[in-house]
Amino acid sequence: MESEALERYLDLAEQMEVHHNPEVAELFRKMARVERKHVEKILERVGDKDLPHIPPWEYQWLGEEAAEAISNEDVHYLMTPHHALTLALGAERRAFGFYTRVVETVEPGELLELARELMEEEREHVALIEAWLAKVPEPADDWAEDPDPPLLQE
């Protein structure tokens, strides 16, 4: 889940760079750095353990995709940092919900401990992004208006 979120943030950052939206690109890169730390931490915990290979379609997520990944379809080339943070907040809340569900359903043991730890971290991420979002101005009503649209029916 964390790897998918990392890959998606990197993809979205590239998309925003291509479409000349450096502010949101940098924001997605920051989120990718956060997710990379999470991935590294989990890999450290995995250590030498042999993990089973599970094809991507066999993961039992709560939705179509890994809970923490922003959907490709939810972005726009003129999106503002406020939009990006709102999407990131949704992703973190879904991740929190996912780990909470794990905590509620697994037996006591190493998995429960790890899930609880990750749940608490996601709770912190939610709080951090909420605080960040509060400092970012809301988008203007005409945020999607492009005076020189790249693709216009004429």
Binding site: L12, E14, W57, E64, E73, Q153
Partner: protein, 279 residues
């Protein structure tokens, strides 16, 4: 697949992506289809140099540039013709064809019919957004008759092309529909399509967020097909004829033997044949 190169362990989806950054509009479903294709190839552990992605013209036809495999960005509508030639001459390759509804069903419509009929072993992935996005939003063969736009005021009034029905009637050996909003489910369909010998056709509903903003609503409409894959062509025909276009999954999988070049039937060397022609 008719051939199975030695799988390479440890490859990830990212290993099948090139360094070229896609220029698709952010929000475009094609990003997720790229993700689904690369995930599928990673699952199959196919060596990138044993994969070739062939395309025609259109937004989705940019796919070969974004992949770290061999590829050919061909002319409009001719992708399956190119891919047929490639597969027949290099049966060791896994050949994928990628493109859109305009490229595949209008400009390349004739090639589509005969690729299904010939049943050469390849996988054709059509990203269907029911519009010509690259050329600013003209209606395509799969556009609804009442889609009102600046370029089609009041709609075209034309009955849409039904690619899955046509594929079945023309002889495709595997027919499935995916949705870009479910890249993991689409990856699974692509894996099954590649594994099934013969011509596999995968339609992927892939919203165009620039000219078809309404297609963002597809994620609320699509649903898994309430039926299992069938080998019964009659049952598949009834299923597809009553389909509303939003059922996802494998809708038909047949057992036709793929067409292969009969090299034993060639009795004369090319040089000998040349003597019959005036140069």
């Amino acid at each position: 697949m008719t051939s199975s190169p030695a799988p390479i362990p440890g490859l990830t989806a990212r290993d099948y992506k090139s360094e070229v950054k896609p220029v698709w509009c952010p929000g475009c479903g094609d990003f997720s289809v790229l993700s689904a294709i690369t995930k599928a190839l990673a699952e199959l552990k196919l060596p990138p140099e044993k994969v070739s992605v062939i395309s025609g013209i259109g937004c989705s036809s940019r796919m070969p540039a974004y992949m770290n495999s061999y590829g050919f960005h061909g002319v409009h509508g001719r992708a399956v013709a190119l891919a047929t030639g490639l597969k027949l001459s290099r049966p060791d390759l896994t050949v994928l064809v990628t493109g859109g509804d305009g490229d595949g069903f209008s400009i390349g419509g004739n090639h589509f019919l005969h690729a299904c009929r010939r049943n050469v072993d390849m996988t054709y992935i059509v990203m269907d957004n029911q519009v010509y996005g690259m050329t600013k939003g003209q209606p395509s063969p799969t556009t609804e008759p009442d889609w009102d736009s600046a370029l089609s005021p009041g709609g075209t009034g034309l009955r849409p092309f039904h690619p899955l029905v046509i594929a079945l009637a023309s002889g495709a050996n595997f027919i499935a529909r995916g949705f870009s909003g479910d890249p993991n489910g689409t990856a699974r369909l692509i894996v099954d399509a590649i594994r099934t010998p013969g011509f596999s056709f995968v339609e992927v509903l892939s919203p165009c967020v620039t000219f078809r903003e309404d297609q963002r609503g597809w994620k609320k409409i699509v649903r898994p097909a309430p039926v299992d894959p069938t080998e019964d062509i009659g049952r598949a025909a009834r299923r597809l004829m009553t389909d509303d276009g939003f059922n996802l999954g494998i809708l038909y999988t047949g057992k036709r033997k793929p067409y292969q070049l009969r090299l034993d039937a060639v009795e004369e060397e090319p040089a000998a044949l040349e003597t019959q022609f005036v140069v």
